[in-house]
């Protein structure tokens, strides 16, 4: 084989690659944060069976967990305009990620809330905790502590899944890769490098989430 590998394009396209990385990080951060908030509210509604939200949330979760992200993206970006809801590719991408993370995190956090032992709630009641205190200190915080690893994995999976946002030309990392390889015809090198960047990002995001988990969530409240 006489093929010469050539990675010199990295320098030439460094600004674009940086832009793509930043965009993917933005999608992950905003999608992860807002999605987790939606998931927390959903988990609360589902755990306490708050009507009619519990039922609505269940439909939402089942719909989003049982259809591919790519199809959700297409439906939002190409489908919704015919109902008069028009948005840019960036808005569609972030909306799809938020809704996707929201659906998964609802189920993850709900599992954590349901694992609260009844005795702990009763113990808190006998210590005259208010309803809100019981919810926050006895249910939500330990629940988040328990499900934090699962939640982190889900956020990393969403980051990896965001690669398909390139298909509606949201300018994230894979979109940049597609652009570069259409210019230099070095498809293998470009995609190989991009894959390596994703790998490094997945590692870094997982480590940061572990750190956040250790310092912000696992830390015990002050006595």
């Amino acid at each position: 084989m006489t093929y010469q590998f050539d990675f010199s394009f990295i320098y030439e396209y460094r600004a674009m690659l940086a832009h793509g990385i930043a965009y993917t990080v933005y999608l992950t951060l905003v999608g992860g944060t807002v999605g987790t908030l939606i998931g927390t509210v959903g988990a609360i509604c589902r755990t306490w069976d708050i009507k009619p939200f519990a039922g609505l949330y269940q439909c939402y979760v089942e719909l989003f967990r049982n259809t591919p992200f790519l199809v959700q993206l297409f439906l939002i970006f190409f489908g919704l305009p015919s109902l008069g809801i028009r948005m840019s590719e960036g808005q569609a991408a972030i909306l799809a990620i938020i809704l996707n993370v929201g659906a998964y995190s609802t189920e993850i956090i709900r599992a954590g809330l349901q694992a609260t032992p009844k005795g702990q709630i009763e113990a808190a009641q006998s210590l005259a905790f208010t309803r809100w205190q019981i919810f926050f200190y006895v249910m939500l915080r330990p629940a988040l502590r328990k499900v934090w690893p699962a939640l982190s994995s889900q956020i990393v999976i969403s980051m990896l899944g965001s690669a398909v946002c390139s298909q509606i030309s949201a300018e994230e990392l894979t979109f940049v890769a597609n652009f570069i390889q259409s210019r230099n015809f070095r498809a293998f090198e470009t995609y190989f490098l991009t894959t390596a960047i994703y790998f490094a990002m997945a590692f870094l995001i997982r480590q940061s989430l572990n750190l956040i988990g250790r310092y912000a969530i696992v830390r015990r409240p002050l006595p």
Partner: protein
């Protein structure tokens, strides 16, 4: 201009859906076989196979499926092979599934209490016998629910293969949407198609999980 009736759309989508189903099954079954080999490497006593399996798993779990497909698709054509889209899709999804399944099953094997291994050893069972008669039967019971759950991920993963040009459900949907100018209807039907494929699996996985917990607490 050619007009499409609703039946034309549905009929074509059904064809795409059949390919999605076929690709999912092939990827899942072949991926499962590969995962079995990976699993044994991952829990082997010796370090080299363990390390190699771990690297393989981390690479496939740490990179997007789309880029795995791209790299495979363009990498193989560098070697002078002309890879058709269906082959790249099948091989890519198979490798992807094998990494995830191996990791799921490893969790199940490792959650079998240590004492079970020791009990096996004290009965003078060899490693292979301990595995075959003590560990795997217990691990398999635990593995069924998450494995069925992962099948949903495989079905959804097939949607990504549309991007490298494999004409499954999503790709068929895009082509029809472009021809009919009715994206909401067509992608809505596509979504319903995936839901019909995935929901029964999710439901079944959940039921299995509940049953497993019930037997454990009783």
């Amino acid at each position: 201009m050619m007009t499409f009736t609703l039946w034309d759309i549905v009929r074509n989508l059904l064809l795409g859906g059949a390919l999605t189903l076929l690709l999912s099954m092939v990827a899942f079954v072949l991926g499962g076989l590969a995962a079995l080999a990976l699993l044994f490497a991952r829990i082997a006593k010796h370090r080299p196979p363990r390390g190699l399996a771990q690297i393989y798993i981390e690479i496939f779990q740490g990179t997007p499926l789309l880029l795995q497909l791209f790299t495979l698709f363009f990498g193989l054509s560098l070697l002078g092979l002309d890879v058709p889209a269906w082959l790249a899709a099948g091989v890519g999804l198979m490798l992807f599934s094998s990494a995830y399944l191996a990791e799921i099953w490893r969790g199940c094997v490792e959650s079998v209490p240590r004492g079970q291994w020791e009990a096996g050893a004290s009965l003078a069972l060899t490693y292979r016998e301990q595995m075959r008669h003590v560990i795997l039967p217990q691990a398999m019971r635990m593995a069924i629910a998450p494995t069925v759950g992962f099948a949903v991920q495989v079905v959804k993963g097939t949607a990504v293969t549309s991007i490298i040009g494999f004409a499954e459900l999503t790709k068929t949907g895009s082509m029809i949407a472009n021809a009919t100018y009715q994206p909401f209807l067509v992608y809505g039907l596509v979504a319903i198609g995936y839901f019909l494929l995935c929901y029964p699996l999710s439901w079944y996985a959940q039921r299995l999980e509940r049953r497993l917990y019930a037997t454990r607490t009783n």
